[in-house]
């Protein structure tokens, strides 16, 4: 077994690291405090090719693999989890399905600008009554000649306010339950489509989380991605890939918190020695380092399986579960290692602590990951 990156993957990681440390890390605290969407740095990420990593060059992307995506995303998250979720949603939840299930005409219209970073995409599945139970879709899309008329509400949509394109899931045949769900690309200024609210959040505060309202929103049938009734399958398959992204985000958050802790444990003295020399602190750092390595390895395994075209549902859920739990534990302990300072904004570990929490919730809660893994192992 080889666990070494190729030259290209290592160069992509190094580029993402340098860019993130030089341009993202310095603004992370400020955009978190102000809940400000980082337009300038996101634009530069697009220019570098970080927003359409796995899309072939012909469709505006970078033509790289999932492993490259994972190593780059970890570096971005290590500096700022908000940038990481913007990157993850654009790559995994928008570009991936539009590339995989879209026709060439749809790719040209809806994928190329987003994969090239000229516009952003979002993924609108969750509704007030359809979170973990994503089948319970109430948004409807009624066929009317060459159009569909969409009516409903989508909740907690990442990049929902900033995106120019939304991949929206809706019932085209409510009688068939989740087999009656279809997927549509809805463009920003379509009449009847509006953003009704941006949430005020605990973490990933620089990423906008919005409520989308569809009020008899008329969308051409040419905007339907995949066949009628295939929407739920598309959503689940997309989330498999997305979970690898969130796992990488979680690893990055953990690394950020861990590195601050190691630095602090060397510098801070209590009872006459650096606190790292107190066994209880040393052990916390040892547990952090070990869990991070484990989380990173499962994430890379899931990515490698996806790149090889092999099944990866179970591994993606394992990676998401383990990495999210690791991020939360590491960030909690990182605050602890910092003592009273850790509780203060200035130390910046409290940001990792607040950011870590979402990784246990979105794209399937930790409980839902366990359901998926259990189903797979009992198959």
């Amino acid at each position: 077994m080889r666990i070494e990156l190729t030259d290209e993957q290592a160069m992509i990681r190094d580029m993402a690291r340098e860019f993130a440390q030089e341009h993202i890390a310095p603004i992370a605290a400020e955009i978190d405090r102000d809940a400000r969407f980082p337009h300038e740095t996101v634009k530069r990420m697009g220019e570098l090719g970080l927003l359409g990593i796995m899309v072939p060059e012909a469709w505006g992307g970078s033509g790289a693999d999932t492993v490259s995506y994972v190593v780059a995303l970890e570096e971005i998250a290590r500096a700022c989890a908000s940038h990481a979720v913007i990157m993850s949603v654009n790559n995994s939840l928008y570009c991936d399905p539009v590339w995989k299930y879209g026709t060439d005409e749809q790719r040209a219209r809806f994928l190329k600008p987003v994969a090239g970073g000229h516009a952003l995409g979002c993924f609108a599945l969750t509704e007030p009554e359809a979170g973990s139970d994503a089948r319970n879709q109430h948004t409807v899309a009624v066929r009317d000649g060459d159009d569909y008329v969409i009516t409903g509400r989508k909740l907690f949509i990442s990049t929902g306010r900033e995106a120019s394109y939304a991949l929206v899931f809706a019932q085209t045949d409510p009688a068939r339950a989740h087999r009656g769900i279809s997927a549509f690309v809805v463009e920003k200024n379509t009449p009847g489509f509006s953003v009704s609210k941006t949430e005020d959040k605990l973490g990933i505060r620089a990423s906008d989380t919005a409520e989308l309202v569809f009020d008899a929103c008329r969308v051409p049938a040419a905007n339907r991605i995949g066949d009628e009734g295939k929407g739920f399958h598309i959503a689940l398959a997309t989330l498999d890939g997305g979970r690898i992204g969130i796992a990488a985000q979680a690893v990055g958050i953990a690394v950020g918190a861990y590195e601050r802790s190691v630095r602090y444990a060397r510098e801070r003295k209590a009872f006459g020695v650096p606190i790292g020399e107190h066994q209880m602190i040393g052990w916390m750092l040892a547990d952090m380092a070990t869990a991070i390595d484990g989380a990173r390895l499962i994430t890379l395994k899931a990515a490698t399986l996806k790149d090889a075209g092999r099944p990866y549902t179970k591994e993606a859920s394992m990676a998401k579960l383990f990495a999210a739990e690791t991020a939360m534990k590491v960030a909690t302990d990182a605050v602890q290692v910092h003592g009273g300072f850790g509780f203060i904004r200035e130390a910046e570990v409290e940001r990792h602590f607040r950011d870590a929490k979402i990784t246990q919730i979105y794209e399937g809660t930790s409980q839902i990951q366990k359901l998926v893994i259990a189903r797979e192992v009992l198959k």
């Binding site: 030259d7 160069m11 580029m15 860019f19 570098l48 090719g49 033509g63």
Partner: protein, 260 residues
């Protein structure tokens, strides 16, 4: 317009350099991360900007060094250089700045570029000599530590600005010429993902001394020994009333440190 950029691979700026236990003339290379010398990145960036501004041309990266140097050349290709040449032979293992300049000059004579760019110095041994020696061997004009350049429309001359104390010294230099880049010339780009993915499809040509009609002899400059700097004496904190402490500080600076 063809431009050759000379690049050197050096240890990462964060490296804690240690003298090798086995060879007191060398550093311990175990665990070192190698990078393109930062001043050379300014040179690469400027070459790419000249090409982009003119809408045509070719940028060729050249480096002398062992196998690992391919990584540095690949970075140059990922940034946007069109192809690379690797001067790679054990005969060059102990090349000093003059031997390096002679080897580079031989390649440059074959390539016949209108312009050669390099960094003002490599950040490992800080010799800062190759650019000027290269120009001397080629018998081309040279401007070192440039902060600004503008190649004229028909690529016959280049106007360069050199940073001097309190101002900019401006020259018009006929091409071909050798220029060395100072920090501030530009802000080097990051390689894009497309650039990185495309780099492996670009050519890195291996060149041996024989291909250039050279037989490298013994270098004129030989390292006899490397010595670590003596450990820095510990700092001193002057305690007591501020009034007295300041007096003691001034005395210590004047008498002990002889700094004022």
């Amino acid at each position: 317009m063809k431009i050759v950029v000379a690049v050197k691979q050096v240890p990462d700026t964060a490296t804690q350099v240690k003298i090798s236990g086995a060879d007191p003339k060398a550093i311990d290379t175990a665990g070192i991360t190698w990078i393109v010398s930062p001043y050379d990145e300014f040179a690469i960036e400027e070459a790419l900007r000249i090409k982009e501004k003119r809408g045509q041309g070719e940028v060729v990266a050249v480096s002398l060094g062992p196998d690992r140097v391919k990584e540095a050349l690949r970075s140059a290709l990922a940034m946007g250089c069109d192809r690379a040449i690797h001067l790679n032979d054990p005969a060059w293992a102990n090349a000093d700045t003059l031997a390096t300049a002679q080897a580079l000059a031989a390649v440059i004579k074959q390539e016949q570029p209108a312009l050669v760019l390099c960094g003002r110095q490599a950040i490992d041994d800080d010799m800062g000599a190759v650019g000027a020696q290269l120009a001397e061997v080629l018998d081309w004009p040279c401007a070192s530590w440039i902060m600004d350049e503008a190649v004229d429309a028909d690529a016959k001359t280049v106007r360069v600005g050199r940073q001097v104390e309190g101002g900019l010294e401006v020259f018009d230099i006929p091409l071909p010429a050798v220029l060395s880049a100072q920090k501030g010339l530009n802000e080097p780009r990051y390689p894009t993902l497309k650039g990185i993915m495309g780099a492996k499809k670009k050519e890195i040509k291996d060149v041996k001394p024989g291909d250039l009609g050279l037989t490298p002899g013994a270098p004129q400059l030989m390292v006899k020994k490397l010595e670590a700097l003596p450990a820095r004496p510990p700092g001193r904190i002057i305690q007591g009333e501020v009034k007295d402490a300041v007096k003691e500080l001034v005395r210590a600076l004047r008498e002990d440190a002889k700094a004022i």
